[in-house]
Protein backbone atom coordinates (compact mmCIF):
# COMPACT_ATOMS: atom_id res chain seq x y z
CA UNK A 1 0.00 0.00 0.00
CA UNK A 2 1.35 3.32 -0.96
CA UNK A 3 2.23 5.64 1.84
CA UNK A 4 0.14 8.76 1.81
CA UNK A 5 2.08 11.96 2.03
CA UNK A 6 1.67 13.49 5.46
CA UNK A 7 -0.99 16.11 5.59
CA UNK A 8 0.10 19.59 6.31
CA UNK A 9 -2.23 22.29 7.43
CA UNK A 10 -1.33 25.89 7.45
CA UNK A 11 -2.30 27.26 10.82
CA UNK A 12 -2.32 30.77 12.07
CA UNK A 13 0.34 31.17 14.80
CA UNK A 14 -2.16 33.35 16.65
CA UNK A 15 -3.97 30.10 17.52
CA UNK A 16 -1.29 29.41 20.08
CA UNK A 17 -1.70 32.70 21.80
CA UNK A 18 -5.47 32.74 21.82
CA UNK A 19 -6.38 29.10 22.36
CA UNK A 20 -3.58 26.84 23.50
CA UNK A 21 -2.11 29.23 25.98
CA UNK A 22 -5.40 30.31 27.63
CA UNK A 23 -6.62 26.75 28.02
CA UNK A 24 -3.38 25.63 29.65
CA UNK A 25 -3.25 28.59 32.00
CA UNK A 26 -6.88 28.15 32.97
CA UNK A 27 -6.33 24.47 33.66
CA UNK A 28 -3.37 25.19 35.91
CA UNK A 29 -5.15 27.98 37.72
CA UNK A 30 -8.25 25.85 38.30
CA UNK A 31 -6.05 23.15 39.75
CA UNK A 32 -4.54 25.64 42.18
CA UNK A 33 -7.95 27.05 42.98
CA UNK A 34 -9.27 23.57 43.63
CA UNK A 35 -6.40 22.85 45.95
CA UNK A 36 -6.99 25.93 48.05
CA UNK A 37 -10.73 25.50 47.98
CA UNK A 38 -10.34 22.01 49.39
CA UNK A 39 -8.01 23.30 52.06
CA UNK A 40 -10.41 26.06 53.04
CA UNK A 41 -13.50 23.92 52.92
CA UNK A 42 -12.04 21.18 55.05
CA UNK A 43 -14.30 21.40 58.04
CA UNK A 44 -12.50 21.50 61.38
CA UNK A 45 -12.76 18.32 63.42
CA UNK A 46 -16.06 18.31 65.15
CA UNK A 47 -16.26 18.43 68.86
CA UNK A 48 -17.10 15.04 70.27
CA UNK A 49 -18.91 14.57 73.53
CA UNK A 50 -17.11 12.71 76.27
CA UNK A 51 -19.08 9.42 76.11
CA UNK A 52 -18.75 9.27 72.34
CA UNK A 53 -15.04 9.98 72.61
CA UNK A 54 -14.75 7.25 75.17
CA UNK A 55 -16.53 4.80 72.92
CA UNK A 56 -14.28 5.55 69.95
CA UNK A 57 -11.03 5.57 71.84
CA UNK A 58 -11.82 2.40 73.76
CA UNK A 59 -12.46 0.61 70.53
CA UNK A 60 -9.22 1.98 69.13
CA UNK A 61 -7.47 0.82 72.26
CA UNK A 62 -8.88 -2.65 71.75
CA UNK A 63 -7.62 -2.65 68.19
CA UNK A 64 -4.20 -1.48 69.35
CA UNK A 65 -3.99 -4.27 71.90
CA UNK A 66 -5.02 -6.78 69.27
CA UNK A 67 -2.53 -5.65 66.67
CA UNK A 68 0.41 -5.00 68.98
CA UNK A 69 -0.04 -7.87 71.36
CA UNK A 70 3.48 -8.99 70.52
CA UNK A 71 5.13 -6.35 72.68
CA UNK A 72 3.53 -7.71 75.82
CA UNK A 73 4.60 -10.64 77.88
CA UNK A 74 2.21 -13.53 78.14
CA UNK A 75 0.88 -12.76 81.64
CA UNK A 76 0.25 -9.10 81.01
CA UNK A 77 -1.39 -9.83 77.69
CA UNK A 78 -3.67 -12.35 79.33
CA UNK A 79 -4.69 -9.89 81.99
CA UNK A 80 -5.50 -7.25 79.40
CA UNK A 81 -7.38 -9.69 77.24
CA UNK A 82 -9.55 -10.80 80.10
CA UNK A 83 -10.30 -7.28 81.16
CA UNK A 84 -11.04 -5.98 77.71
CA UNK A 85 -13.20 -8.88 76.55
CA UNK A 86 -15.38 -8.66 79.64
CA UNK A 87 -15.68 -4.92 79.33
CA UNK A 88 -16.42 -5.09 75.61
CA UNK A 89 -18.98 -7.83 75.99
CA UNK A 90 -20.78 -6.12 78.83
CA UNK A 91 -20.91 -2.89 76.88
CA UNK A 92 -19.10 -0.88 79.54
CA UNK A 93 -17.75 1.59 77.00
CA UNK A 94 -20.93 2.24 75.07
CA UNK A 95 -22.09 5.79 74.52
CA UNK A 96 -25.60 5.07 75.67
CA UNK A 97 -25.82 1.63 77.25
CA UNK A 98 -29.60 1.56 77.41
CA UNK A 99 -29.85 1.64 73.63
CA UNK A 100 -28.03 -1.65 73.24
CA UNK A 101 -29.51 -4.06 70.78
CA UNK A 102 -31.67 -1.50 69.07
CA UNK A 103 -31.05 -0.81 65.42
CA UNK A 104 -28.82 2.20 64.76
CA UNK A 105 -30.49 5.51 64.18
CA UNK A 106 -31.29 6.59 60.67
CA UNK A 107 -28.26 8.54 59.46
CA UNK A 108 -30.52 10.98 57.64
CA UNK A 109 -32.03 12.28 60.85
CA UNK A 110 -28.77 12.50 62.77
CA UNK A 111 -27.28 15.99 62.39
CA UNK A 112 -23.78 14.64 63.00
CA UNK A 113 -24.19 12.29 60.08
CA UNK A 114 -25.23 15.06 57.75
CA UNK A 115 -21.89 16.74 58.31
CA UNK A 116 -19.94 13.79 57.01
CA UNK A 117 -22.09 13.65 53.93
CA UNK A 118 -21.73 17.36 53.40
CA UNK A 119 -17.97 16.89 53.41
CA UNK A 120 -18.23 14.31 50.67
CA UNK A 121 -20.62 16.48 48.72
CA UNK A 122 -18.23 19.40 48.93
CA UNK A 123 -15.40 17.31 47.57
CA UNK A 124 -17.48 16.06 44.72
CA UNK A 125 -18.65 19.55 43.94
CA UNK A 126 -15.10 20.84 43.92
CA UNK A 127 -14.35 18.28 41.24
CA UNK A 128 -17.49 18.45 39.20
CA UNK A 129 -18.23 22.14 38.94
CA UNK A 130 -14.93 23.37 37.47
CA UNK A 131 -14.82 20.52 34.98
CA UNK A 132 -18.27 21.21 33.64
CA UNK A 133 -17.59 24.91 33.52
CA UNK A 134 -14.32 24.57 31.64
CA UNK A 135 -15.74 22.04 29.22
CA UNK A 136 -18.62 24.29 28.31
CA UNK A 137 -16.32 27.30 28.16
CA UNK A 138 -14.08 25.54 25.66
CA UNK A 139 -17.01 24.27 23.69
CA UNK A 140 -18.52 27.71 23.42
CA UNK A 141 -15.45 29.70 22.55
CA UNK A 142 -12.93 27.38 21.00
CA UNK A 143 -14.81 24.66 19.18
CA UNK A 144 -13.90 24.06 15.59
CA UNK A 145 -10.24 25.00 15.77
CA UNK A 146 -7.47 22.59 14.93
CA UNK A 147 -4.58 23.56 17.12
CA UNK A 148 -2.06 20.76 17.47
CA UNK A 149 -0.81 17.59 15.85
CA UNK A 150 -0.12 14.56 17.97
CA UNK A 151 3.41 13.25 17.51
CA UNK A 152 2.21 9.65 17.26
CA UNK A 153 -0.35 8.04 15.00
CA UNK A 154 -3.63 6.81 16.39
CA UNK A 155 -6.50 4.88 14.89
CA UNK A 156 -9.45 6.41 13.16
CA UNK A 157 -11.67 5.59 16.14
CA UNK A 158 -10.30 8.51 18.08
CA UNK A 159 -11.29 10.92 15.35
CA UNK A 160 -14.67 11.68 16.76
CA UNK A 161 -13.22 12.33 20.18
CA UNK A 162 -10.18 14.35 19.23
CA UNK A 163 -11.80 16.31 16.45
CA UNK A 164 -15.11 17.06 18.04
CA UNK A 165 -16.59 20.06 16.31
CA UNK A 166 -14.33 19.76 13.26
CA UNK A 167 -16.41 18.02 10.64
CA UNK A 168 -13.73 17.24 8.08
CA UNK A 169 -13.86 13.70 6.82
CA UNK A 170 -10.44 13.28 5.29
CA UNK A 171 -8.37 14.83 8.03
CA UNK A 172 -5.77 12.70 9.75
CA UNK A 173 -6.96 11.79 13.26
CA UNK A 174 -3.64 13.08 14.58
CA UNK A 175 -4.87 16.61 14.31
CA UNK A 176 -6.50 17.61 17.50
CA UNK A 177 -9.01 20.23 18.42
CA UNK A 178 -9.05 22.40 21.48
CA UNK A 179 -11.23 20.04 23.49
CA UNK A 180 -8.69 17.24 23.16
CA UNK A 181 -5.95 19.54 24.36
CA UNK A 182 -8.14 20.00 27.39
CA UNK A 183 -8.20 16.25 27.95
CA UNK A 184 -4.44 16.00 27.58
CA UNK A 185 -4.03 18.70 30.22
CA UNK A 186 -6.54 16.95 32.42
CA UNK A 187 -4.43 13.81 32.50
CA UNK A 188 -0.94 15.21 32.28
CA UNK A 189 -0.77 18.26 34.51
CA UNK A 190 -0.16 16.34 37.71
CA UNK A 191 3.56 17.06 37.57
CA UNK A 192 2.93 20.81 37.36
CA UNK A 193 0.86 20.72 40.52
CA UNK A 194 3.47 18.58 42.20
CA UNK A 195 5.98 21.35 41.85
CA UNK A 196 3.64 24.24 42.48
CA UNK A 197 1.81 22.92 45.50
CA UNK A 198 3.83 20.06 46.92
CA UNK A 199 3.08 16.46 46.26
CA UNK A 200 0.12 15.91 48.54
CA UNK A 201 -2.05 18.49 46.87
CA UNK A 202 -5.71 18.25 46.09
CA UNK A 203 -5.37 19.89 42.70
CA UNK A 204 -5.36 16.96 40.39
CA UNK A 205 -8.62 15.37 39.46
CA UNK A 206 -6.79 12.22 38.46
CA UNK A 207 -5.45 11.56 41.92
CA UNK A 208 -8.87 12.13 43.44
CA UNK A 209 -10.50 9.76 41.02
CA UNK A 210 -7.92 7.15 41.87
CA UNK A 211 -8.84 7.57 45.50
CA UNK A 212 -12.47 7.20 44.64
CA UNK A 213 -11.79 3.98 42.83
CA UNK A 214 -9.83 2.44 45.65
CA UNK A 215 -12.03 0.46 48.00
CA UNK A 216 -13.16 2.83 50.69
CA UNK A 217 -12.11 1.90 54.16
CA UNK A 218 -15.22 1.16 56.15
CA UNK A 219 -16.12 4.19 58.17
CA UNK A 220 -15.34 2.95 61.64
CA UNK A 221 -17.08 5.49 63.77
CA UNK A 222 -19.44 6.81 61.23
CA UNK A 223 -23.11 7.17 61.84
CA UNK A 224 -25.30 4.21 61.32
CA UNK A 225 -22.70 1.78 62.64
CA UNK A 226 -23.71 -0.24 65.63
CA UNK A 227 -20.96 0.32 68.18
CA UNK A 228 -22.13 -2.60 70.28
CA UNK A 229 -21.61 -4.99 67.37
CA UNK A 230 -18.14 -3.59 66.81
CA UNK A 231 -17.26 -4.14 70.44
CA UNK A 232 -18.54 -7.70 70.32
CA UNK A 233 -16.51 -8.40 67.21
CA UNK A 234 -13.43 -6.88 68.78
CA UNK A 235 -13.88 -8.98 71.91
CA UNK A 236 -14.04 -12.06 69.74
CA UNK A 237 -10.93 -11.01 67.83
CA UNK A 238 -9.08 -10.54 71.07
CA UNK A 239 -10.21 -13.88 72.41
CA UNK A 240 -8.86 -15.89 69.49
CA UNK A 241 -5.36 -14.41 69.44
CA UNK A 242 -2.62 -16.92 69.88
CA UNK A 243 -0.13 -15.01 71.90
CA UNK A 244 3.56 -14.84 71.23
CA UNK A 245 5.96 -12.10 72.10
CA UNK A 246 8.81 -10.35 70.35
CA UNK A 247 10.64 -10.88 73.60
CA UNK A 248 10.83 -14.61 72.91
CA UNK A 249 14.41 -15.51 72.03
CA UNK A 250 15.33 -11.88 71.65
CA UNK A 251 18.77 -12.46 73.11
CA UNK A 252 19.46 -15.24 70.61
CA UNK A 253 18.41 -12.97 67.76
CA UNK A 254 20.56 -10.20 69.11
CA UNK A 255 23.66 -12.38 69.34
CA UNK A 256 23.09 -13.83 65.89
CA UNK A 257 22.56 -10.39 64.42
CA UNK A 258 25.78 -9.14 65.90
CA UNK A 259 27.68 -12.13 64.57
CA UNK A 260 26.49 -11.71 61.01
CA UNK A 261 27.25 -8.03 60.99
Amino acid sequence: MAQLPPQTIQRDPQLFYWILFPITVVMILTGILRHYATVLMASPPKKVEQPALKEQRSLMHGVAVRSNFHVLTAPSFKARREFLTTAFESGAYLKDPERRGQPPANPMTDPGAMDGMMGMMKNNMAMMVPNTLIMSWINTFFSGFVILKLPFPITIKFKSMLQAGVATKEMDPRWMSSISWYFLCYFGLQFVFNFLLGSDNAASQMAQQMQGMAPQAPNMFGPGVDADKQFQAEAENLAVIKHYSVLDDVEQRLLEGIKTR
Partner: protein, 118 residues
Protein backbone atom coordinates in the same frame (compact mmCIF):
# COMPACT_ATOMS: atom_id res chain seq x y z
CA UNK B 1 8.17 -12.92 51.63
CA UNK B 2 8.69 -12.18 55.30
CA UNK B 3 5.98 -13.34 57.62
CA UNK B 4 3.90 -11.12 59.83
CA UNK B 5 6.02 -12.09 62.78
CA UNK B 6 9.22 -10.99 61.09
CA UNK B 7 7.61 -7.65 60.39
CA UNK B 8 6.84 -7.32 64.07
CA UNK B 9 10.40 -8.17 65.01
CA UNK B 10 11.94 -5.86 62.42
CA UNK B 11 9.30 -3.22 61.86
CA UNK B 12 8.97 -1.08 58.77
CA UNK B 13 8.24 2.56 59.43
CA UNK B 14 5.43 3.59 57.09
CA UNK B 15 6.49 7.25 57.10
CA UNK B 16 9.90 6.41 55.70
CA UNK B 17 8.42 4.19 53.00
CA UNK B 18 6.04 6.99 52.05
CA UNK B 19 8.89 9.45 51.92
CA UNK B 20 10.99 7.23 49.67
CA UNK B 21 8.14 6.53 47.30
CA UNK B 22 7.28 10.19 47.12
CA UNK B 23 10.85 11.20 46.37
CA UNK B 24 11.01 8.65 43.58
CA UNK B 25 7.70 9.62 42.02
CA UNK B 26 8.57 13.32 42.18
CA UNK B 27 11.82 12.65 40.39
CA UNK B 28 10.07 10.58 37.79
CA UNK B 29 7.32 13.04 37.00
CA UNK B 30 9.85 15.87 36.68
CA UNK B 31 12.20 13.93 34.42
CA UNK B 32 9.30 12.60 32.37
CA UNK B 33 8.12 16.09 31.56
CA UNK B 34 11.66 17.21 30.73
CA UNK B 35 12.09 14.22 28.42
CA UNK B 36 8.83 15.26 26.82
CA UNK B 37 10.26 18.69 26.10
CA UNK B 38 13.40 17.12 24.66
CA UNK B 39 11.47 14.68 22.47
CA UNK B 40 9.23 17.46 21.21
CA UNK B 41 12.14 19.69 20.29
CA UNK B 42 13.94 16.81 18.60
CA UNK B 43 10.75 16.21 16.65
CA UNK B 44 10.51 12.54 17.43
CA UNK B 45 7.45 10.79 16.12
CA UNK B 46 5.48 7.68 17.06
CA UNK B 47 7.68 4.71 17.99
CA UNK B 48 10.93 6.58 18.30
CA UNK B 49 9.28 8.95 20.76
CA UNK B 50 8.05 6.19 23.02
CA UNK B 51 11.35 4.37 22.71
CA UNK B 52 13.12 7.58 23.73
CA UNK B 53 10.89 7.82 26.78
CA UNK B 54 11.39 4.25 27.91
CA UNK B 55 15.14 4.29 27.43
CA UNK B 56 15.63 7.52 29.30
CA UNK B 57 13.26 6.65 32.13
CA UNK B 58 15.05 3.39 32.70
CA UNK B 59 18.35 5.22 32.51
CA UNK B 60 17.14 7.66 35.18
CA UNK B 61 16.06 4.81 37.40
CA UNK B 62 19.43 3.13 37.00
CA UNK B 63 21.21 6.37 37.82
CA UNK B 64 18.98 6.81 40.84
CA UNK B 65 19.86 3.31 41.92
CA UNK B 66 23.61 3.77 41.47
CA UNK B 67 23.85 7.09 43.23
CA UNK B 68 21.19 6.95 45.92
CA UNK B 69 20.37 3.33 46.66
CA UNK B 70 23.39 1.23 45.83
CA UNK B 71 26.04 2.73 48.14
CA UNK B 72 24.18 1.87 51.33
CA UNK B 73 22.25 -1.16 50.18
CA UNK B 74 25.31 -2.99 48.83
CA UNK B 75 27.12 -2.26 52.06
CA UNK B 76 24.35 -3.79 54.11
CA UNK B 77 24.74 -7.07 52.27
CA UNK B 78 22.01 -6.95 49.66
CA UNK B 79 22.66 -8.10 46.14
CA UNK B 80 23.10 -5.81 43.19
CA UNK B 81 19.84 -4.29 41.92
CA UNK B 82 18.10 -5.27 45.12
CA UNK B 83 16.14 -2.28 46.37
CA UNK B 84 14.43 -3.90 49.30
CA UNK B 85 16.35 -1.72 51.74
CA UNK B 86 14.36 1.34 50.74
CA UNK B 87 11.36 0.17 48.72
CA UNK B 88 8.71 -2.36 49.39
CA UNK B 89 8.62 -4.06 46.02
CA UNK B 90 11.08 -4.30 43.19
CA UNK B 91 8.32 -3.62 40.69
CA UNK B 92 7.50 -0.30 42.30
CA UNK B 93 11.06 0.86 41.92
CA UNK B 94 11.89 -0.34 38.44
CA UNK B 95 8.61 -0.05 36.58
CA UNK B 96 6.37 2.24 38.60
CA UNK B 97 7.84 5.41 37.17
CA UNK B 98 7.48 4.35 33.55
CA UNK B 99 3.72 4.49 33.83
CA UNK B 100 3.48 7.24 36.39
CA UNK B 101 5.20 9.77 34.18
CA UNK B 102 3.74 8.76 30.85
CA UNK B 103 0.83 11.21 30.92
CA UNK B 104 3.12 14.14 31.69
CA UNK B 105 5.51 13.01 28.99
CA UNK B 106 2.81 12.89 26.32
CA UNK B 107 1.55 16.31 27.34
CA UNK B 108 4.88 18.08 27.03
CA UNK B 109 5.89 16.03 24.01
CA UNK B 110 2.73 17.04 22.14
CA UNK B 111 3.00 20.63 23.21
CA UNK B 112 6.58 21.12 22.11
CA UNK B 113 6.17 19.03 19.00
CA UNK B 114 3.26 21.25 18.07
CA UNK B 115 5.14 24.44 18.89
CA UNK B 116 8.33 23.50 17.07
CA UNK B 117 7.27 21.38 14.14
CA UNK B 118 3.75 21.19 12.97
Amino acid sequence: MPTEREFQVAPIVPESVMHNTKALSNLQSLTASIFGVAAGILGLESYSGFLFYFIFTILTTILFYTFRVAPTSLKSGLGAFDTSRYFRTQYEFWAGGVFGGLAGYILTWTLFYGLVRA
